[in-house]
Symmetry: D2
Subunit: 410 residues, 4 copies
């Protein structure tokens, strides 16, 4: 039992924290001013400051830290990368600066593990170099995507081509000026069982038949320059080499993809919750009502105590999940990954909400970053599986211990 | 004990509901398309549809229903108006259509009860005619406004003039093209005790020295065409007749103003919660995951049951508070008004959040009205007194029953 | 909309409250000292004080107030009786004193509505005279009784006899020295559909074949002199006249029986919650820590405020359910009755738990009545249907509004 | 970051678990049957089975595992002992079997660290041999003991004697037939500052002037053969050598004493919560309602998922606190110890309550161990500091990070 980080993790963490404090956080105001609020992604531009910071981060080796592979990334384990993801969680612009932003991270992992040499050369290299961005096209507007087997889009082999058809939404990142390809998930083998019916396909975005129909807002924000696209695919034709790993392997790949991604999201949310608690305490120490600083009024100490407890517990559970993934593989961490996916967004949402409350009206305005942070936490109670699905999985894993008690139906 | 509405209330309610269903709700899309998203209120316009609907509502007598006075309003009691406010709560554009929108309602009540004949003639009449709009300038950016005695702006008598100085924010409605005056609250009698130090002053917005510094966003939305202004007052000079009720009476007037207003807000939130529950059920009945409609999956029936219970209880408590206000006056309803102010926004926030959850990603987008509804509920956990202050008041009222047990300090 | 009680209700309420304060509450210590803690109900005796108080209550007309019938009871409506039940809720010994204790109340209603003249004469009369007590034998140890259709005990007609077989438990009141009969529910028509398969049978307890196997404890307490029996029925033979209302009508009768009973339970719990809040405030006003009375420390004012809100809401909802039952019948109050059955026990449990907390260790001891009150509240989250079943019913009623949206299965 | 237990911890844990499963759990029925339910501790006896199991545990080296000292105990660190305490938490009789029961553990630690050689020889040796038991006399009936500085009992030096006066309660263990001494805490230095005013004194229970006034029940149970005594001390005279560590050091010693004790309690509660979850799942798998096993009905999978999440988080946080105590000392674990003291009892109380709910009425009876487990969890929301005090401490530690922002009072 040892709760301390490895020397390697501590080194990366300290350098990342210093970079965050010295460069990223001070750049936030400039970043947000450069962002478009337009609903039309054609108006969006990458803020220059991001490319500057990316170059610096890369030169300092704070780059692709998420990839547990020495050749392509920093070679940190999940448990070692986790605290760095938390540090990144203090700024919504940070993940791109360190080339550790979703969905590029998940897409990189997929290509690293399952991609062909050609796919790696053509797409993974520039992605890990930060030269291009990518999207992931999975959920669909016409079905409840909480059940992934509902997916209806198709990627059917016709002769020596794959033909894509269907409509996707919440294709995050697809509005980015640098976004060049997407990973598309759809039905490749309609007659197979429900977990071997889908495939992942690498789709260059300039392929004919792809149309970004519109950008979707999240709590009123279009999240430029990334954005969340609704995208139609109409007879999009690709060579067979566009399959990742081959037809029918979509769920297998998705499962491997989502484990680390959920840990990244959860750790960033913990960073966000820590920031919210800091803002709460600072505001509450410096504002006075009824003769006392707000932090001492009525239930506010309880709010602070509960926030601290919630953060500590969520962090430990996420680190445990990461450690399990490192030591027992994704299958050995299934319940824990679902557990953190329930815990971290809810804890973050509650603490950010509490911080808004102590800020009064100001907390709801753009004078503070709280509502943006709230939107991110709220999204993550849905993205990568809603709370309800994860709770269902946790119960299922728990009850497997008692399956010998299941009653025969008569 | 009789839980049925009076015949008069039923008549107004049925006509209001019909008007909502036939005219207001179908106009929402047109309304939202006409709204500016600009941060600069000079770009804002009143959507034509609102004036059309106002004219129709007025011609049908569905007008100023909030004012419990037969001469100036519909003459409904608070308990009779409450269900009508709930009906209005189904659309964020409805209150203005029926000339029942904050802060005009509260300002009208203040002028009706405390205004001079001249003030009534010049300002109340056009306000109740829907020709002009108004604002209320109370909270300040530099202090914790949860403690109203923190207020620092001044309205000092100098000779035969009142001189206003200070900075206000969250002056809601001040961005409206039709907004012509504000009620300003500030220190008039700096040497009086803390509850007799303030006054309310009627300020025409074209008086020199008033400057709208900027509009504040609420969860990213500027709420055009009303808006929430940050406003500076620099040596704004007004005649003594601009006092409402006279110097030193600010708190007395504020208390009377806020009681009915809180009931209106709470009933509208209950309408909003009912709408959210309806959307939740409709979406959940028509989407399927894991072989079942969402409403039957795992804990979703509990979500629905808890929502129904929450709404029923919040409504009954708000009606009781309205009835107490009608039968025992504002002083006889103090605890209950604080109770509903805690309950209704929290119930609404939870149910709207649950509705978002069952809508999946779509629930966070502008495809549904849920995030706008959420913002309104969230605001009302702060506006008109944060939850914390109201809980403190409720406890204070409760403990007054036991004050004979208070220990003498040695 | 009128939240005041009728003159008749006010009169009964004031006299009941006076009787409670002057006679019942002062007698509690004597009562509890007279109670046996033995697990063997043969050791139990009716405390003399109860019979004395019963005689007084009866002579003052505070007797059978639960029965909405002028001939047999006080003729109060459910809404009129509700506040009286709340008053009784301040003492666990009160219901028997006023001859308003479960399950005698429910059994009386059943006999009043469905009993034969002979049954009324022989059993209802002495029951309403307080001369005998009764039990209700419904739930069974071998099945999940939350689903009443699981019931397996039988009451089959053989020739001119009914033959009872099966094992029941939680037969409350069966240990009372005065308990003379039970109403037994079992399968009379095994081939009928699941809601017309059961019957209710009136069983004198001295009939051969009935054996009280043991008494069950509730949180360690055997609840003398009433008790909760596990009872076996082995070839218990009764004349056909022992059916109440006839075979196959068990569920129909049960439904009518449970509506008012649930309202009584809920109102008594509200009385219990009020008492707990009073104890909480009194203790908290008179104990000091860290230089302040406990009621002013940290989150304690919030605890008090939330308790007040919880009680007010639960009471209003219960009164509304009672009013609906009076004005629309049991079918018009189904959802509301389930709602209060969820709300009241949970609110009471929480407030009693909070009161224990503020009493410190003492709150868990017999120096205060809190743990007994807690046990009663906790029981009622299970008795008469667990929370889960009622939430399920509420959701079902809610979703019936949207049944037109149900998707056809393909 | 390594979440695995040390080899030494694993060895002890496996042997403890085997002993629990093979010997302790099967003996529980016999144990409970041997216990008296009398309120008079003079009727109590040590069940023979306990002494048998103690002898076996001792012979297998599963003895005094709590004491992080190789000479007197097993020499396990806090982090190593923690999982063993969890294993013990599956049975309320287990701690005594392994000689690891409170308050003997805390008293042993105090004597080990602060006791004189004479005290160790005379009292610590037989205590660690399991030959005698001990009590801890701290809280007092007349003051709010949540603020330990309220303590009023005295232990004043008069000449060459210490004279004890005062009244203590919740002196747990004092009813045990083998209880031979108590550690008494009281005011020794009335003129010192509030944290140096108290002392701990070792009091043989046969000293004249000590009277056990009565035993206190906990949720109706007297907890024989340990019990919770109310004890009066009237001019109890002891030699000066009875001080532990000397006058004025009471708080210093108490702080060191409570840290490990809280970790033990929390880990045992986690064991109790695991057991409750197991019982919940087993019952829910084998009972059917509405055509499904209970574990699949409505919100029950969520209950299971939330229980699993709650346990995992509480365990990790407690292990972290233990690790901090081992690596940074009690001062480096202050906030975390308070955090677990809030979390573990609440998590256990909720899960046990949920298990009761799924057991239906049976869960409240003595057919299952759940209500006894509930009482233990509930007690620990008060014992060793109520939730409220610990939340206050956690907030205080958090706000120390921001003390530079504290505003000067004018």
């Amino acid at each position: 039992m040892d709760f301390s980080h490895s020397a390697k993790a501590r080194d990366y963490l300290q350098r990342t924290q210093a970079f965050m404090n010295d460069k990223v956080l001070p750049a936030e105001e400039q970043y947000y001013q450069a962002l478009s609020t337009s609903a039309d992604h054609n108006d969006w531009q990458q803020p220059a400051i991001v490319e500057e910071l990316k170059a610096q981060a890369r030169s300092e080796g704070l780059w692709n830290m998420f990839l547990p592979c020495e050749e392509w990334g920093a070679g940190l384990t999940n448990a070692e990368y986790a605290p760095i993801a938390e540090a990144n969680g203090w700024s919504l612009m940070a993940p791109e600066v360190f080339n550790c932003n979703a969905p590029d991270t998940g897409n990189s992992e997929v290509l690293w593990k399952y991609g062909s040499e050609e796919q790696k050369e053509q797409w993974l290299k520039p992605l890990l170099a930060g030269e291009i961005r990518s999207a992931f096209c999975m959920t669909e507007p016409d079905v409840a995507s909480s059940d992934a087997t509902n997916m209806e889009a198709t990627c059917i082999v016709e002769g020596d081509e794959i033909v894509l058809n269907g409509r996707k939404w919440w294709s995050s990142g697809i509005g980015h000026p640098n976004c060049k390809f997407a990973i598309f998930m759809g039905i490749s083998n309609p007659d197979a069982d429900r977990h071997h019916r889908h495939a992942m396909v690498l789709v260059p975005l300039d392929t004919p038949g792809i149309k970004i129909e519109r950008m979707l807002s999240v709590m009123g924000d279009y999240d430029a320059p990334f954005g969340h696209g609704e995208v139609s695919f109409t007879d999009v034709r690709l060579p067979l080499s566009a399959f990742i790993g081959g037809p029918g392997r979509g769920f297998e790949i998705a499962q491997g993809r989502l484990g680390p991604g959920r840990i990244h999201h959860c750790m960033r949310l913990i960073g966000s919750a820590e920031k919210a608690l800091k803002l709460l305490c600072e505001r509450g120490m410096t504002r006075t009502a009824f003769g006392k600083p707000l932090v001492k009024l009525n239930g506010n100490p309880d709010v602070i105590a509960n926030a601290r407890i919630g953060i500590e517990q969520a962090r430990l559970l996420t680190l445990k999940a990461a450690w399990l993934m490192d030591t027992k593989g994704i299958m050995g961490a299934m319940s824990e990954v679902s557990q953190i996916k329930v815990v971290a967004p809810n804890v973050a949402q509650q603490i950010i909400d509490a911080a808004i409350q102590i800020h009064g009206g100001g907390g709801l305005s753009d004078d503070f970053p709280l509502t943006r942070m709230l939107a991110m936490a709220r999204v993550l109670r849905l993205a990568d599986g809603p709370d309800e699905v994860h709770r269902g999985l946790i119960a299922k894993f728990e009850l497997m211990k008692y399956r010998h008690l299941a009653q025969k139906k008569g």
